[in-house]
Symmetry: C3
Subunit: 139 residues, 3 copies
């Protein structure tokens, strides 16, 4: 049993879901991971981590659209508005979708289902540099 970790950086350019599955797979391969658990952690309060379908891009577009409708920028009586009208909705979307994932690893790969991908969800309008901590523990 051993452990290894890194910080992965992703540049985002506005709201949407970015498939980061390949980047994580590359890191696991480079670290010669075998059997274990991968912990992914998004170090932000206005971006989140979601596992969703990676086949039809309409799925992530529809999910982003649903969240926009659920947490609109106008008409919510938010008090935290000093950082822009998209900031507090971004915090809410992050709280609802989460920043932490524990994913089993087998034969050096995340044991995802056939249609699952790991997505970094950017909830802010302006470009951001986002950090995801990846920690592997196992053999």
């Amino acid at each position: 049993m051993r452990q290894t970790r890194t910080t992965l950086f992703f540049a985002t350019r506005g709201p949407g879901m970015h498939d980061i599955t390949a980047a994580i797979d590359r890191w696991l391969h480079q670290e010669q991971a075998g059997l274990g658990v991968l912990t992914l952690f998004c170090r932000h309060t206005s971006a989140s981590l979601v596992i969703q379908e990676n086949a039809d891009p309409d799925v992530t577009r529809d999910l982003t659209g649903f969240l926009d409708q659920l947490v609109p920028e106008r008409g919510m009586a938010f008090r935290h508005v000093s950082e822009g009208s998209d900031d507090m909705p971004a915090h809410v979307k992050t709280a609802l979708t989460g920043v932490s994932l524990a994913i089993p690893v087998a034969d050096g790969r995340m044991d995802l289902g056939a249609w699952q991908g790991v997505f970094l969800c950017e909830h802010r309008r302006h470009p951001h540099q986002r950090q995801i901590v990846a920690h592997f523990m196992g053999d």
Copy 2:
């Protein structure tokens, strides 16, 4: 420190929350788990894992009803409709409730509260065979 894993299969017959606590407890017992962490991972994008009250069945019925009301099949302007009108709502419900759980294990059992159970939430109408990866790491 050691690790062990399996895939548990559950047949679902329509939307609802299925208590899978006993099946997980049986597996932990069979693997002679002691102290450690259990990672549970649902390998699907239209079914999820939720910890909720296992006493009054009205709680899971009300929760399912709430999600139906929050993400209705009609009137959402979803583009991803080719797999049925219940598919995109199922993806949204899965994103909101999650597919990954990390649960402390003590004395060979999940350290759940008195009223907590682990539920597989089926969000599709048609019967499905669902896979949950269970991974134990510890002593």
Copy 3:
């Protein structure tokens, strides 16, 4: 590689988000944690664990207000009402925000972003004694 665990107790006095970051940091320090993974688990079905901004208190107030609006006590046709009108909304809020977190630990501290704190979210009106299991595995 080793593991250690405890149960942390927090007294709540009505709905809101309680920053428990310092209490967790103290426990990690006391256990001489180095590199590893911290699992946090809330043993309740009407209180949850959320990572959110710890700078402007308006953020947690706005998040609490959003959840109140999303899951109102009246007009939802809930059947589970015997434990009070705030009970079923508390179950729904808990299901949406979650009870389980996996957090990477480096140099003895949770590897949180600059603005992230760990919050215990109380969703019931009456005072409660809440239990959070903290489990550290690593070096």
